[in-house]
Symmetry: C2
DNA sequence: AGAGTTCCGGACAAGAGTTGTCCGAGTTGC
DNA sequence: GCAACTCGGACAACTCTTGTCCGGAACTCT
């Protein structure tokens, strides 16, 4: 089981956009993190489809957050990029083979399915409890306010 | 993000082996669940490597649980088949690019890394809280004792 | 209005990981 | 000792992710 690597990029972008007061282009975000611009664009488009960021075209266009960072959870970003589908999908094994359970017994999800769903929900709840603003607060609390200021200055500097 | 489909098979096998008092061959387990025998063998080998089941070769060989089902958690099976690697792997994006953080600032995992690790741990804790015996108890509580008895009888019947 | 940016969506190739199959090594029972 | 049966790991086929690229549309500045 592996999560899409683009999730990490998207989270870092969401964190960086916290310090921006202008739209930031995808190319600039890619340059900042030293990652592929073409591929990062794909993640940003996914975030745009999910309504987390707003994209403006044109000369001074780019991406900006649609909501205050305290209203964007880590789960929002993960689901936007990686998809909302749970990792475990039940194929109803109990309904196959010579000992197949009766169809009416399969109306409720099986015990295995429930255990996996509960774990998935615990995972989501944990990600839902952390917002982008929390991440920013942790970073400034540990490494000082200079980090976000540096990002803002770099965004405002000429390319 | 998608989990290996073999995890579901392995869990069903672990559940079925609860009702067995003899070693059961991989072919018989595959026939019972109507899945590919060759591929199911791979999952059983992984469980054997993890020490969850013991394999005996020869004429009446097969697989059997090494511990009582109350000592085998769902997480044990998931990690045996799907691997113990967490889904999220941090590539230390903050240490790259023109705004790279200083190396000494990267001694501790970044905030994003911590959030993902905490969620992963919550997921694992949920899976760890359910044992194979719990699954069997749920099934008998909902569909009666006949289910496990049927499995046992089918195992004891001649192929 | 025109030129220069920028995003958007899709098509496309490369790579990794999963899914599935096969045959040899070893063991057991007769 | 023999034969039958089993597991175990090595071997392809396939799907999905990763990554790239290009044309079209929209916006800003001159």
């Amino acid at each position: 089981m592996k999560m899409s690597g683009g999730v990490e990029w998207a989270l870092h972008c969401a964190f960086a956009l916290t310090a921006a007061d202008h739209p930031v282009s995808a190319a600039r975000l890619a340059e900042m993190h030293d990652v592929s611009a073409s591929y990062l664009a794909k993640q940003l488009q996914a975030m745009s489809r999910a309504g987390l960021v707003r994209s403006t075209q044109g000369n001074l266009g780019g991406y900006e957050l649609t909501r205050p960072p305290s209203r964007i959870t880590v789960l929002d970003v993960v689901e936007a990029v990686d998809g909302p589908t749970p990792a475990f999908l039940c194929t109803d094994v109990r309904a196959r083979g010579p000992l197949a359970a009766s169809p009416e017994a399969c109306r409720t999800p099986c015990a295995i399915h429930r255990a996996m769903t509960a774990a998935d929900e615990a995972w989501r709840a944990s990600l839902r409890s952390v917002t982008i603003a929390d991440l920013a607060a942790q970073v400034t609390g540990e490494h000082g306010r200079g980090v976000l200021d540096g990002v803002r200055n770099w965004f405002n500097a000429a390319p």
